[in-house]
Symmetry: C2
Subunit: 374 residues, 2 copies
């Protein structure tokens, strides 16, 4: 295969900690710090655990751009009332298979968890659950919700729209979100967990590169004049991300925006406030879709068939023996094994430094490093 | 935007007829010819109209790779019993919102139409209809089915798996189909009709280039040694299509295969017989998914909101004033206007020549050219 795939795929090095730049933090300690920060600004007790588990889960899966690194954004949004810490989602209308939910501007994870349990309940009864939410916030890692379905042997499909940060073909402005999609399902010995955005790379990874003072690869994003840039700072000033697969990424993003934004009654396209908008009390009113399918309604041996499917793909001849063929979710699984081997999460020192300053400001105990002798 | 988009997007010239290579054929005449051919091999009367309308609809929308040009494949499949011309699909199991359908190896369009009306019926009652089919055949243009939902003011989402013709990242063999997805919905003054495959380009377009004796652009497909080729003949010998957006196209194709193939009980991945397999009586047993959503269950003003969405995207600043920003489906709509203006379908002479030979063989009236004085 060789030549033409190398041209179109950028190979990101696996996030293996070079302990010079990284420090180890115990999973429970990371959660403790998140809880302390949120408690300080008045987040109710019941939600502390939910948010802390959710953010650390992203880091555990190696998606550092959507984990602890986003805590300051959460704090900012809650303090400036762009998300309502006391709100609870509510059902506007429902049938045996569908529900329309008003997120009431609660945190994305609160809305997402609510909708997912609703969709699961419906799938249990009629085979499929289709839940649409408006007035929601940033979902974080979409796989978190799909995993809830997967844990109960269901298939979960989650989509969300987002701030307009992606430039459609032929356009010179970012008029659509890098809208995301996650799909998860498990077999007896295999699992499939796709979590993708419709841009070439998610914006969290660019912010994460900025935190780590690293360059980003060519073609991920353009600067304000429309030229591809390798500087995360320029890419984030007025984000203009490149669509994945040119017009295909754009089409997919538009479809997701139609389902999540237009159908739910949420904001869509350029109606959504700009990325990291600092306007007080301006809730983004994002829309999301949660679909759960019960495979038992279709086949009794779905899990065995999924194992066969995984084998069909993985056991085909690889281009290089040193690089085995991967399924969506394998990369995250490898990172989870790494964390388990290390006994702790490897966080970049630049990130820990940022949160030490926040700990000082909030007068809470800073993040404690993990000591293997503990 | 400029530079970095030009690198990743290949600009296909619009299929405007250069009347030197093209001849005009009246829509009704194209249908008549298809009906005559199918009748000759014994296809029942009721199905003749269905298949002829379906194939001509693809040409009308400008998707020539899935229209009349596929008739010889249909004839071949029916003659060699890879599709059963007398079969009717049947429901295996259903709930108020879902159905599992056995296609009984009927033609793809017969299975697709059956499943779509089932999904529409369910969506009318509970807001969503989710139908999964196995033992089906090639669906043809997936937008045909989504349009059935769109015509009744519903949203339609259709997916299908297919023969393994796409090479996953890190693999050296084609182990997954260039699985397709179509999503359609309409507003008061706008419509959205996405019809995409997960490879950079669909295989029909490569076959169509072969028919027209044209080269294909670099990167669409690889030859048997794995190098990108511009010769359709080499690309079709043992198809190895490039994934759209590298790993994203692969992930999407795998998700579609899981839903369509694994969940339905159909073949999947390398279980599906090779592209254009000539083995007699070997039915491909493809799987498909049909989802219909009734927007009225969620919002009363969905159509107005869709118009607003279209405006948000289309009215943003274009990179060049000469090239307006497009929505999925605009290209097909332009071709439909062209056909209406011409009063007939512009078919390539190479295609007409091929079917003249078939007309001779079957002793039926060849395709008559359209005369403006008629």
């Amino acid at each position: 295969m060789g030549r033409h795939r190398r041209m179109s795929t950028f190979r990101k090095p696996m996030a293996v900690p070079n302990l010079g730049d990284y420090s180890l933090v115990h999973v429970e300690e990371a959660r403790r710090f998140i809880r302390d920060c949120l408690k300080r600004i008045g987040v109710p007790e019941l939600k502390l655990r939910c948010v802390s588990e959710f953010l650390v889960a992203a880091d555990y899966r190696g998606i550092y751009g959507s984990g602890l690194s986003q805590l300051d954004i959460y704090l900012n949004d809650l303090l400036h009332r762009r998300a309502n810490m006391d709100a609870e989602p509510e059902i506007i209308r429902e049938t045996v298979a569908t529900a329309h939910v008003n997120g009431n501007d609660a945190l994305g994870v609160i809305v997402g968890n609510f909708c997912m349990s609703l969709a699961l309940e419906k799938a249990k009864n009629v085979g499929v659950g289709f839940v649409v939410a408006n007035r929601s916030n940033n979902l974080g890692i979409a796989s978190w919700y799909a995993l809830q379905a997967l844990d109960q042997d269901y298939a979960g499909l989650v989509m969300s729209n987002g701030a307009p940060i992606m430039v459609p073909p032929r356009s010179s402005v970012a008029s659509i979100g890098a809208n995301c999609l996650a799909f998860g399902v498990k077999g007896r010995n295999s699992y499939f967990m796709l979590d993708m955005v419709s841009s070439m790379k998610d914006i969290g990874s660019i912010e994460w590169a900025l935190t780590k003072h690293e360059y980003i690869p060519h073609l991920w994003a353009a600067d304000e004049r429309g030229y591809s840039t390798c500087f995360p700072m320029l890419a984030l000033r007025n984000p203009r991300l490149t669509c994945a697969g040119a017009s295909k990424g754009y089409c997919l993003a538009a479809m997701i925006d139609l389902l999540c934004g237009v159908l739910s009654g949420a904001n869509f396209s350029t109606q959504i406030p700009p990325w990291r908008s600092n306007v007080k009390r301006l809730c983004p009113n994002l829309g999301q879709i949660f679909i759960v399918i019960d495979p038992d309604f279709f086949l009794p041996d779905f899990m065995d068939r999924l194992d066969d499917f995984t084998e069909c793909i993985k056991n085909s001849t690889p281009a290089s023996l040193a690089k085995p063929i991967q399924m969506p979710g394998d990369r995250e699984m490898r990172h989870m094994h790494l964390v388990e081997k290390l006994g702790a999460l490897p966080y970049h020192n630049a990130l820990l430094k940022k949160y030490n300053a926040i700990a000082d400001l909030f007068c809470i105990k800073p993040i404690q490093m993990f000591n293997n002798d503990d």
